[in-house]
Symmetry: C2
Subunit: 268 residues, 2 copies
C-alpha cells in the first residue's frame, strides 16, 4: 500500500466534525477516511484548556493505530487549544479548521469587520482574532461564545422555522451585527447545520463555514505534498468512545442518510 | 471529632446537584457538606451506563479522602445507573434522589398516572418506573427524556417569560399531559430551576422536585441512624474536576448569592 492510500484521520469531540468529514468526502471522494468522535467526553467547548489538550492527545493516539497520511482536527475548540500539543507529539501533516476559515474571512471582508460565532473555549483561546490578524492587520474581529447552539443542533433543532432556533440565534446575531460586521465565521463544526437559519436572519452577511474551508485547505495541502489518493479508495471508518447508537442517529443528520448507512461503528 | 460531625458528601456531574445541596442546607443547616461536581465529564445524561458508572466511582473515591458520614448521589442519572456499583464498593450510608421522589409520587398521585421528566440516561435505565412500582403496583408511569433542559438551565435560561424556555417545555409537557397524568416528577437535579416555568404551563399538576425529596429523606435517614450533627457545623467545601470559575458563576444561580460566596473551589 502506497502512502497516498493511507487514511486521513479526522477527529472531533463528537458529531460536529462530521460536517468537516462530509465536506472532505464531497471534495475528495477517493480519500480513505477514519473518523473518531470522542463522545465519552463531549462537549469540549465548555471544558478547560488543560482538559481539552489531554482529550485531543488521546484522540490522536487512538487514530495513530491506523495507517494515517494526514490528520484533520475537525473541532474548532480542539484546534484552538490543542494544536501545538498535537504538533509537538505527532509527526504527520496536521490540518485544522481555524486557519482555513481565518484566511478566507480576511480575504472576503470588504469593511474589515469580521464576526466569529464559536464555543466558549474557542472564544477564550483568542485563536480566531490572533490568526486573522496574521493575514490582515487592519481587520477588527468580534467574537461571541454561543453555548446553546451545540445542544440545539445535537437535539435536531436547526430549522429556520423553529421559533426556539430563531430566538436563540437572533439574540446571538444581534450582538455581532451591532458591530457592523460584513463577514461571519461559523467557528464551530456543528454550526453549518444552522446555515439556512442564520442566513435567513442576516441575509446581507458573507457567511464562512469553517468545515468547508477546512476541506478546501486539506485538498490543496495534500496536492502540494503529492499525497492525493489516486486509486479507488473511498473507505470510511467511524469510531466513537461512547454510545455508538446515539452517534448513528445523529450521523444521519450530519452526513445525510446514505453516507451514514456506511458507518462502521465501534466502541473504543 | 465525633462521627456526627463528619461530612455529608454530595456529588453530581456538575452544578445540578447544587439544588440538592441547597435543599439539604435549608433543611439541615448544621450539617458539614462537601460537594463534588465532575465538571470535566459533564453532562452524564447523554453518556453510556458503563461510562457513567466509571465516573461515579471516581467521584466517590475523591470524596472518600474526607471524613464522610454519609453520601448523597445528587444526580438522577448517576443514581439510576451507578447506585449498585457504589453500594458494592463503598461502606457508608448512601442516599439518592430517585427513591425519595418515587415514594413521594406514589403517595401523592390520585389517578395513578405519573409523569417523569429526566435525562436520556435516566429514562433509558427505567429506574423511575421500577422504583415507583415497588411502592404502588397500580401506578402507570410515563417517562420522557428532555435533553435540552440541562443546557438551557446551564445557560441561565429558565424564566417562565422566556419564549425559548416556554416553547421547549411546552413541547415536552404536551407529550406527558397527553397521558392524563396528575403528578409530575422533575427527575433531574437541574429542573427545580424551571419550577416556575413548568407550573405556569401545567398549573393543575402536582410537581415533585427530586432535590427536595432527597433532602427530606436524608434528614429522616440521619435521624434514624442518630447521625444528625448537634454541634455548630455548617461547614461547606466545594470541589470541581474542571473550570472552577465557570462553576462559581453558575453556583450563584443554584444556591443564591450568599451561599455561593462561601464556595471554596479547587481543581482536582
Amino acid at each position: 500500500m502506497s502512502k497516498k492510500e493511507g487514511y486521513i484521520g479526522v477527529f472531533d469531540s463528537g458529531i460536529g466534525g462530521l460536517t468537516v468529514a462530509g465536506s472532505i468526502m464531497k471534495s475528495l471522494p477517493k480519500e480513505n477516511i477514519i473518523y473518531f468522535g470522542d463522545t465519552a467526553h463531549l462537549p469540549y467547548g465548555t471544558k478547560s484548556e488543560k482538559q481539552i489538550r489531554e482529550y485531543a492527545v488521546n484522540d490522536v493516539l487512538f487514530l495513530s493505530q491506523f495507517d494515517l497520511k494526514a490528520l484533520v482536527i475537525a473541532c474548532n475548540t480542539a484546534d484552538s487549544v490543542a494544536r501545538h500539543a498535537l504538533e509537538e507529539k505527532f509527526d504527520m501533516p496536521i490540518y485544522g479548521v481555524i486557519k482555513p476559515a481565518s484566511i478566507k474571512a480576511a480575504r472576503v471582508t470588504r469593511n474589515n469587520r469580521i464576526g466569529i460565532m464559536a464555543t466558549t473555549a474557542t472564544v477564550r483561546s483568542d485563536a480566531y482574532p490572533r490568526t486573522i490578524h496574521r493575514y490582515s492587520e487592519e481587520a477588527e474581529v468580534f467574537q461571541l461564545a454561543c453555548p446553546l447552539l451545540v445542544p440545539l443542533v445535537e437535539n435536531g433543532r436547526f430549522s429556520k422555522d423553529d421559533i426556539v432556533v430563531r430566538t436563540v440565534l437572533k439574540e446571538y446575531l444581534d450582538q455581532l451585527t451591532a458591530h457592523g460586521i460584513d463577514t461571519l465565521v461559523l467557528g464551530c463544526t456543528h454550526y453549518p447545520l444552522l446555515m439556512d437559519a442564520i442566513s435567513s436572519l442576516v441575509p446581507d452577511l458573507t457567511i464562512i463555514s469553517s468545515s468547508e474551508a477546512a476541506a478546501e485547505t486539506l485538498r490543496r495541502g495534500l496536492q502540494e505534498l503529492d499525497l492525493l489518493n489516486e486509486s479507488e479508495g473511498g473507505k470510511r471508518k467511524y469510531f466513537v468512545s461512547d454510545a455508538p447508537e446515539h452517534f448513528h442517529e445523529n450521523a444521519v443528520l450530519f452526513l445525510g442518510e446514505d453516507a451514514a448507512d456506511e458507518a462502521e461503528l465501534a466502541e473504543v
